[in-house]
Amino acid sequence: MAKFDDKIKALKQVTTMPELLALAPEVRKAATSKAKKKLAEHMIYLATEHILGK
């Protein structure tokens, strides 16, 4: 549980696309349930929006 939460927390901190590209597979790997997998996808989407800022 903590590992997934840590990854989500880290996801909120990324500021560049290369960082996000490196972190996204780790977040998906840490998502052990279907609900977490969906949350992971949505958080990756939000992180992209945040980085682009447009």
């Binding site: 696309m17 996204a24 996808e41 989407y45 992209t48 929006e49 447009k54």
Partner: protein, 325 residues
Amino acid sequence: MITNMHYPLLKLRPFFGGQFGVPGSEAPQGLRWSPDAVVLYVDSGHPDASDNADGTNPEQPKATVQSAVNSSFLTDYSVIVVNGAVSESVVTPDYVTGPSYISIIGTGPSGYSPSWQSDATDEPALDMRAVGWMVQGFRFLGQTSAACIELRHTDSGANDIAIRTVIQNCLFDGLTTGQYGIWSHGCYDVWIVDCVFQLWNNVGNDACGLFAGTTPLAIPYRNHIIGCVFWDNDNHAIFPCNGSEFVGNRFQQVGYAYTAAQSLNTTVGGNPGDDNLVTQNVMTGDYSVAGGYSGGAADIWIGNMCDDIAEAEVADNGFSILAPT
């Protein structure tokens, strides 16, 4: 790089004065600052067309779309008006170096003109890498080893991201030899509206109108495929995605010339999609996974008009009540 720099724009004073009753038409056009958003003109058939022109005057348009796309005048929310056939493979800048929310508009009265075909068999006609660009009113013609429009999402470079792209009122004609109409690499928030996909056929029968390929970051999410027609293709839409909608499209499984092996896949093995809303579409032919329709486990496929009432997922009145199995 500063993309919103205001560049001085030099114009000769016009030979005509203002027009009565038209506010602003009398404004002198000497040395002035360009507005935040400009309109650039491209007309390959114009006798005075030149890429050395700044493109702001329709009487002296640019000769190529690529030149307009690369123009330093092009700031956020600008418009590129295209008249005349296009024979180019155009690549947009990435989202960092290029402007956002540019509209490329074909001036033909419908999706059948002007035409736009890549000049290389293995390069897309339009390679989109920036945020929020809109393409409207073209007849895209296929190439044997490329898509007409390729939507990048970190597959070519980390900053190549074409989220929020809008593609509307375009015809994607595979010419019976083309590979893909639109090829997405996972862009979010893409709108594909009122387009026609036809004659995507090749020797290997793996041509496809709407296709999601390599997706390094994520599969498409929050995409909107609305009011499109898919007919006479080897495959209509192989588009694994999450949380997207397919509304009001027409999928003709057995066409006049070709029969589609896959009509609509919102999930594929190894690239599963889920939670999509599929409704109000016309879905002809075998409404089953074997027949070429397949959705994610939590997709909603209700209220689609189907002629395959023999399936348990289709009510006797022809409306779907479940995703196909």
